[in-house]
Symmetry: C2
Subunit: 245 residues, 2 copies
């Protein structure tokens, strides 16, 4: 492990977590190094465009360079190419925003989406990391890909599953029924449905699903919406060479 490089990356991680711009002294405290060391690390990151210094406040924020790298990452995901028409189709038939996520960094990383034309919509942007235990996409990834070693059951709404045993039983059910639901467990007023996406090796590599306001994604029309999500997930899995369906 190269300590100086690790410190630079920790700076980027801190900036990703931060609410606003950060000054040298705060970086020095966070990294437990002298302020002169922190200053040199930030200068290096800035010269490559990974951070920017506000000339007025002298504080730092993430730089635009990562936007370019991210575009490259997303453009090199064959799964995204294959999945995009299925996301559009899923949004067309359900009228809700659809999303595609993979397990990454201990969370559900949204890598694509398709927006509904509806004015009232539930949309999660590409690049978002969502918790696994209380989102539909997340629970699918937990059930079918595996549970990361550290899983914190942070409560988000009164409906969030809060203990490990209840979650375990619930994930058994998700595996049996082949889909997951987020019934206002992550965000009040929002309900989601998701199903697993298999690759040619019959392994689950992603989850696909829809999100909508609870007033539209009601418990009454859930069976129909569920069927549409599962059908799309199976179609996409077939497209990826999975012989399971």
């Amino acid at each position: 492990m190269i300590q100086s490089l690790a410190r630079g990356l920790e700076i980027l991680d801190l900036l990703e977590q931060a609410e606003g711009d950060i000054g040298i002294m705060e970086f020095a405290r966070y990294l437990d190094v002298d302020k002169s060391s922190a200053s040199r690390l930030l200068q290096t990151l800035a010269s490559y465009g990974y951070v920017e210094q506000n000339p007025d406040t002298r504080r730092f924020r993430l730089g635009p360079r990562v936007v370019v790298l991210s575009n490259r990452v997303l453009n090199r995901m064959p799964l995204r190419d294959h999945a995009h028409p299925f996301l559009r189709q899923l949004t067309d038939v359900t009228g809700e925003c659809s999303h595609l996520a993979i397990l990454s960094q201990g969370k559900a990383l949204y890598i694509d989406q398709y927006q509904t034309p509806s004015i009232l919509r539930v949309e999660t942007e590409i690049g978002t990391l969502s918790p696994l235990h209380c989102t539909a996409l997340g629970k699918v990834l937990l059930a079918f890909v595996g549970v990361p070693s550290e899983l914190t059951l942070t409560p988000y709404t009164p409906r969030t599953i809060g203990d490990a045993e209840t979650l375990r039983v619930h994930l058994d059910q998700v595996r049996r029924q082949g889909f997951a639901i987020d019934d206002e467990e992550h965000v009040a007023g929002v309900r989601c449905i998701a199903a697993p996406v298999y690759n040619f090796g019959k392994k689950v590599i992603a989850a696909i699903g829809i999100s909508g306001p609870a007033g539209r994604v009601t418990l009454d029309n859930l069976p129909l919406l569920k069927q549409q999500v599962i059908a799309t997930a199976e179609d996409l899995s077939r497209r990826l060479g999975s012989g399971l369906f």
Copy 2:
């Protein structure tokens, strides 16, 4: 400048430029270091999620962490929030995809877009870096923000401006008329129109424009489309507090 950190960032830059995955030996040659040094740098980047190693081929690619950072950068751009409704409006009235770009890394960095429902469309993804001398957005940024110290006039089509003096005269005209056109200068069959976006300090901070197939964005309907782009740019500038319009 911290050498180890700089090397790590150069690795990320190399991976951004690369066509495919890269092995340790190639990194070592590129950085002019021993293969064991390259290996340790890559291990550090991998442990923070900035690169991934393919377990089968042992070669590396950019990791998903940058997707999260990028999302954060884009979400913290007030300009994007303000501009999005204007992009939608511009697409609605013109029927073409609209884009928003800023000057970054010596190029035009696309930070937002709005897609036309048309099946035939010209769309540039967020995170794309486009050349300045032969795109409409790029020429607006050159004319109104400034010319970077190094500007390479790479030819892309027979219509690309190839010498500095012709470009200089052309940019004078762009400044006078208040908009720029890409008349199949970057991609054959594609025509674009862009105009500058001013902030409250009366400085140009971005360019906004539309792109379409040359068969639809014809020289005949250019005057109307041009007016719609300029009007939207002025509306957005006014929204950002510019007193110029």
